[in-house]
Structure formats: structure tokens, C-alpha cells
Amino acid sequence: MLQVRKNRLWKLLTILFLSAGGISLILFSLNSKLDLFYTPSEMLQADIKPGYRIKLGGMVKNGSITRDGTTIRFQVTDFIKEVSVTFDGVPPDLFKEDSGVVILGYFLDGMFEAEEIFAKHDENYMPPELSIDPPAI
């Protein structure tokens, strides 16, 4: 009987140890691996540390896309403020002017350096965080 209890205790301890380890790992990663989402107005107001990866969501401003080799520059707007973005690479197919976009990258001296531009399956996609309706076209 005692042996059975001892076994049970060991098992319980192992389980507790593993789950404690797991949970602390999870909390540790959660804290350092979050990407905060900003709209252009929020981004310009917020105090963002350089080297801190964030997400920017908004509309690609009409007529703002320029290309230079493989580098693309454009402006993202929430119809109040604009943020300039640079991206090196081939953007997803649904990336075009006057359409919604979410970008992952770094904010440095008023410029947003994009690491990745997210494509959406839906061509009518609009980031839900944009509270204002776009002007009718």
C-alpha cells in the first residue's frame, strides 16, 4: 500500500513539475512574442521602441505606391493620418491601392519597415479595427 502511495506521489510531483515548467515557458514566450496592432493614427501617437516588432493595419493610400527595383514604398492610411512603409520583396496578389492591408514590421523614425505583408483571401477584406467607413467610391 505504501509503495502504491509513494508511486502516486512521484507521479503527482512529476506532473506538477512538468506543468509548472510548461506554464512558465508559455508565459515567458507570451510576454516576449506578442505583436501589438496599431492603426496609423495610433502608431504616430504611441511611443514605440525601435526594434520592437508590431503590426500596422489600414488602407493603402491611392496613388502612393512607388517602386524602385525590388523595393516598394507606399502609404497606409486610416483616413486621418498616414504612415510611410517600405518593403523589399514581392507583395501578395491582393495588395493594391485602395484596399485593406496588414503589415508586420518595425517602426523607425516615422518610417515603417515591413517584414511581411499579409494577404487576405477575401478581396473585400477590411481590417475590423478601422472604425471609419472608407469614403464611397
Binding site: G22, L30, G69, V90, A119, H121
Partner: protein, 632 residues
């Protein structure tokens, strides 16, 4: 007219299922007479057939371009080939829910009729199955009716299916995935029935073992197909994005894998019975949670269907109630259940239990990753998202511990403790071989990343342990469980391939004019952009580039395209892939610049084909387990 009949048949199914439910509830506390059971079985079977016929008619409506039905008008087009007219049914919410229900019904009718009428659990299983089907049918008809007409005049032409969905892999990916998801309704209902019945002398594992194995296989194929499609069709060159919707498919998969393992243990040596039951409930709860996440639009994801709070509320309350019901009986019965044998320390079951705990931990971490943004947003309004770095850090250590347990368990015995001497020989050789291989990998590639090397090491440990086992089998005639060996080799290969892919793959963005050729790097010595032209196809225009590469001394030609679909004006990229044993050369074409040159994205993806090959190995291993001859 056919649309109305089809709609009517579905409504009749609701009526019949309600009858079955009421009839069975009447006998909830008393014994059911075989004749009464036969009657309710007959009603149930008829209800199922009504669902099938209704769906069959719906398929006919889609093929015959009945654009007076709003759903078909919005998602199909008369120009589509018949194959895509049919698959357009599951390209959006309403139709895919219909398909989901058809599969749910199909699994249920097959399983319930395979049970003998004298089977003590048949009454309650029937009750659970009809309750679940009824819940989903009502969900379909009340909140997402696929039969809705456009009145008074139907559309003349359909709006067409989204072009990225016009693809064979994607056409069969949802059906496979759904077959997997809803397949676990069987283990769920059977376990709930067992708990309701309250006679715990009964053996229940064998009755659902093969059903769950088949569901697991479908789920695995479904997930693998989805990732393969994302790789070659979306043009990002990635295979897994830790997108919320991928995560909600991975959680039931992990739960199902844990369930299969503990089911083997409990049917083999009568241990972990209670735990297995809990997992059986958990898989279905996670499948329902997945349906809720995907279909309520609560989380913004590439897969999300249109945002509809009403649907979300219905699904959340329905799945919540079902799960709560099952967990309540489980908790109520727990004291009586807790009599199964204890696991022997150092036996195969003990290592298997450890990995079960690890799988639950990973499910919990994914669950947290999926819901954390929602929690944060409701607390302080901050919008956050959780990406791959979170999951990579979580999974690397978990994978390592899991691999160590798998390695030890290869030589462990059922029900018996392993001698310490064998324990060390089991560890020593694979660890040494893995460390040597890791050094060789580092020496040839000279890239280092802690997380990736943890993954490589874990993969190699599993691969070498099974390699040793195979050698032992060949020369010492030691027993080997083929199914398990193949499936676990697949897992080891998966860890290895994913990690190697993450350190070796790279991407180059290029910009050149037609006729120009450039040097890219040591491996791709020449990249020549030969020609570009526009071709007209039936429902789209194709911009097709001809590129030839001199790669590793060999000439390859690639043909990346861009398609512009006429009906929706949507543009899609068709990547061009050249696959060799070790790597894929993956080329997509970007946009034309003002000076007439074009941008290209060249990705070299190492070991990427191995990822799907390893999924295939896992499926093969499980298949062998199903068809394995019973050892008496």
C-alpha cells in the same frame, strides 16, 4: 422546385430526429424493448437518408446552375467545369456546413448500424448521435440556410468561386478535414453512452478503435493537404503559418493522437481508461471549438467566414452545452471509474502517459495562443497577435522531451518495468549517433539556431532509435510493430525536415528585364529571364514568364504565371516549382516596373517535400495498425 424539395427533406429530417430524441428520452431511465429500439433505429435511418437525398439534390442544383438559390448564385458560375461547380458548394459557410452535417450523418448511420441491437450502449449512443445531428441541422436551417432563394427573380449568372479555391488539393481538403473532425463524434457519443449506461464491466475500447483510427487518418490527410495547397498556391512559399484556423485544426489532431495512444494502452493492458475517456470528450469539444472560431468570425484570420455574431452565439452555446453535459456525467461517474490498474513505472505505458501529458500541454499552449488576443482585447482594448515565434519557443522544448520519451519507449515493454541496463543501451546509441550527425550538419551548413537544432536533435533521436530497432529486427529477429515504427519514423522525419527547412531556406528578390540574365549566388549561377507573354484562357488572362536557371551546374526552366480572372477581376500568382531530393526551387513573378522590368521572388526551400512525405508515413503507419492481424 427541386430547391424546395431539398429544403423540405432537410426539414423532415429535423422532425424525424426530434421524434427519435423524444422517443429515446422516454426510455432514458427504463430499459428499452428491442422492438422499440428497432422502431427508433428505423426513424433514425430514415432521417439520415433524408439528409443524404437532400444534399444529393443540392449537388444537382449546383451542377445545373440554379442561380435562383442565393448561395449557389454567390459562389458558382456557369463557366466553371462541373468538378468546381460541385466543390463550390463547400467554398463558403452555408454549403460547407451542409457538407459537415452530411459527413456527421454518414459516420453516425454507419456506426450505429454496425452495433448489434442487443448492445447495451446502443440506446444512449443513438440518443447522443441524434442530439448532435439535430443541433447542427437546426444551426444550418436557422442561421445559415443554403436553400434561400433570391426572390422574385434569380440571378442570371453566378458570381464565381474565388480563383485561389479553384484547385484540386483545396477541393478535397475541406471534405477530408471534415471527415476527420466529425469522425470523432463516434468515440464521443460512445463514451458518453458508456458513462450514461453506468455498467463499467463492459469493454468499450475495441468497438471504437478502428473508427477513431480512420477519423485520425482523415484529419491528418486534411491538414496535410491544406498546408500543401497553401505552399504552392498562395505564393508565399510557406507551409504552416500558425494562423488561428490552422491552430484550431491542430488542437483536435493533437488530442486525437493522444487519444489513440492511450486507447492502445487501455485496450492492451487495462490502464488509463478514465484518461482515455476524458480525451475522447476533449477531441470533440476541440472540434466544436474549432467550428466556433472559424465560423463566428471572432478571430480575424485568412480562413474566416463572414462575421456573424448570431452564428457564433448559437455554436458556442450548442457546443458548450454538449461538452458540459459530457463532462458533468464524466465527473459524476469518476469515483466509480477510478478502479483501473495503475501504470507500471518504466513500462511502455508510462512513457506513453508522459507524452500524453506533453500533448495536452501543447494543446493548452496553442489554446492560450489562440484565445490570448481575445482576452487581452477584452481586458484593456489592446490589439495583439501571436505569431510563429511564440509557438516555436513553446514547441522546441516539448518536442525534445517527447522525442526522448519516444526513444526510450521503443525498447520498453508493455506492463513491465525496463531493466536499467537496457535503458542505457537504448539511450546511448541514438544519442551518440544524433550528436555526430548534428555536428556534421553544423560542419556542412555552418548555420546555427538553438531552436532549430533542438528540433533536428529530437527528430534524429526518434529516427535512429527506430533504425536500431529495424536492424535488431532484421538480424536478431526481434519483434517490431510495423505500424508504430512507420508512424513514428514519420514523426521523426517531420521534426527533422521542419527544423532543417527553417535554417537552410532562403529568399532572394530579383528585378530584371526580359532578355536579361544575372548571377544570384553560389548555387544559382545564372538566372535568365527569357520571355514574357499574355495568353487568353477561358475565364482568365495569363501573364506567363519563361525563366531558365543554371543551378548547381544543371539547367532548369521555370514558368511562373500571374492570372487575372475576368469575372471577379482578381489576380492570383501561380508559382513555378522545381523539386529535387533535397530542395525546392520556388519562383513567383511580381509586378512590372515603369522601366519595363519585372520583379521576381526566388525561394530555395530545403526539405520541404519531406514534410508531406512524413505526414504520408504517419498515415501509412496508422493504416497498417488498422489492418494488422489480431495477435491472439
Amino acid at each position: 422546385m427541386i430547391g424546395e424539395i431539398s429544403h423540405f427533406l432537410s426539414l423532415s429530417a429535423v422532425l424525424l430526429l426530434s421524434l427519435v430524441l423524444i422517443f429515446n428520452l422516454f426510455f432514458f431511465f427504463s430499459k428499452i424493448h428491442p422492438n422499440q429500439l428497432t422502431l427508433s433505429m428505423r426513424l433514425f435511418n430514415q432521417a439520415c437518408w433524408l439528409v443524404f437525398i437532400s444534399f444529393g439534390m443540392y449537388v444537382y442544383l449546383a451542377i445545373s446552375d440554379d442561380f435562383s438559390i442565393a448561395y449557389i448564385a454567390n459562389h458558382s458560375n456557369s463557366q466553371l467545369p462541373i468538378f468546381y461547380k460541385i466543390t463550390s458548394i463547400w467554398s463558403a459557410h452555408e454549403g460547407s456546413m451542409f457538407l459537415w452535417i452530411v459527413f456527421l450523418t454518414a459516420w453516425s448511420i454507419l456506426f450505429i448500424n454496425s452495433l448489434n441491437n442487443n448492445h447495451p450502449l446502443k440506446k444512449f449512443t443513438l440518443l447522443m448521435l441524434s442530439l448532435i445531428i439535430l443541433g447542427f441541422l437546426l444551426f444550418l436551417l436557422l442561421t445559415s440556410n443554403p436553400f434561400e432563394r433570391i426572390l422574385p427573380f434569380g440571378a442570371v449568372e453566378g458570381a464565381d468561386i474565388n480563383p485561389v479555391l479553384q484547385d484540386p488539393a483545396l477541393a478535397i481538403h475541406p471534405p477530408m478535414l471534415y471527415l476527420g473532425y466529425v469522425g470523432f463524434v463516434i468515440s464521443f457519443s460512445f463514451i458518453t453512452a458508456y458513462l450514461l449506461n453506468g455498467n463499467f464491466e463492459l469493454q468499450w475500447e475495441q468497438d471504437i478503435k478502428n473508427w477513431s483510427l480512420v477519423a485520425w487518418i482523415f484529419l491528418t490527410i486534411g491538414i496535410a493537404l491544406g498546408s500543401w495547397w497553401a505552399y504552392y498556391e498562395l505564393g508565399w512559399g510557406g507551409y504552416w503559418f500558425w494562423d488561428p484556423v490552422e491552430n484550431v485544426a491542430l488542437m483536435p489532431w493533437l488530442a486525437a493522437t493522444a487519444f489513440m495512444h492511450s486507447l492502445f494502452a487501455s485496450s492492451k493492458s487495462n490502464v488509463l481508461k478514465t484518461w482515455t475517456m476524458f480525451l475522447g470528450i476533449l477531441i470533440f469539444a476541440l472540434s466544436l471549438f474549432g467550428a466556433f472560431i472559424v465560423r463566428s468570425g471572432i478571430i480575424d484570420s485568412v480562413h474566416s467566414f463572414a462575421n456573424d455574431p448570431e452564428r457564433g452565439l448559437y455554436l458556442l452555446s450548442f457546443s458548450g452545452l454538449i461538452t458540459l453535459f459530457a463532462l458533468t456525467i464524466f465527473a459524476y461517474r469518476l469515483p466509480a471509474l477510478n478502479s483501473s490498474k495503475l501504470v507500471v513505472t518504466g513500462s511502455k505505458e508510462s512513457f506513453l502517459s508522459m507524452n500524453n501529458i506533453l500533448m495536452i500541454t501543447s494543446i493548452f499552449s496553442i489554446f492560450l495562443g489562440v484565445t490570448y488576443p481575445l482576452i487581452i482585447e477584452s481586458i484593456n482594448g489592446d490589439k495583439v497577435s501571436i505569431g510563429p515565434p511564440y509557438y516555436n519557443t513553446i514547441f522546441a522544448p516539448l518536442i525534445l522531451i517527447a522525442a526522448i520519451f519516444i526513444m526510450i519507449s521503443v525498447d520498453a515493454l508493455w506492463q513491465r518495468s525496463m531493466p536499467l541496463r537496457r535503458f542505457f543501451t537504448a539511450i546511448a546509441v541514438p544519442v551518440t549517433l544524433s550528436l555526430i550527425s548534428m555536428y556534421l550538419i553544423w560542419w556542412t551548413t555552418s548555420v546555427f539556431s538553438i531552436l532549430a537544432y533542438i528540433g533536428i536533435f529530437s527528430g534524429l533521436l526518434i529516427l535512429f532509435s527506430y533504425l536500431l530497432r529495424v536492424i535488431n529486427n532484421l538480424f536478431n529477429k526481434k519483434f517490431i510493430n510495423k505500424g508504430s515504427a512507420i508512424a513514428h519514423t514519420g514523426l521523426g522525419l517531420l521534426f527533422f525536415a521542419v527544423s532543417m527547412n527553417s535554417i537552410l531556406s532562403y529568399e532572394k528578390n530579383l528585378n530584371l528585364a526580359p532578355g536579361q540574365s544575372i548571377l544570384v549566388d553560389k548555387s544559382v549561377q545564372e538566372f535568365s529571364f527569357n520571355d514574357i507573354r499574355v495568353i487568353k484562357a477561358s475565364n482568365h488572362d495569363v501573364i506567363s514568364a519563361k525563366v531558365s536557371l543554371l543551378q548547381d551546374g544543371r539547367e532548369i526552366s521555370l514558368n511562373p504565371q500571374k492570372r487575372k480572372y475576368t469575372t471577379r477581376g482578381q489576380i492570383t500568382s501561380e508559382s513555378s516549382i522545381h523539386a529535387t531530393f533535397l530542395k525546392d526551387t520556388y519562383l513567383t513573378i511580381g509586378d512590372q516596373l515603369e522601366n519595363g522590368s519585372w520583379t521576381f521572388s526566388l525561394k530555395i526551400n530545403y526539405f520541404i517535400k519531406w514534410i508531406w512525405f512524413s505526414a504520408a508515413l504517419m498515415v501509412l503507419g496508422m493504416l497498417l495498425t488498422i489492418f494488422k492481424k489480431k495477435v491472439s
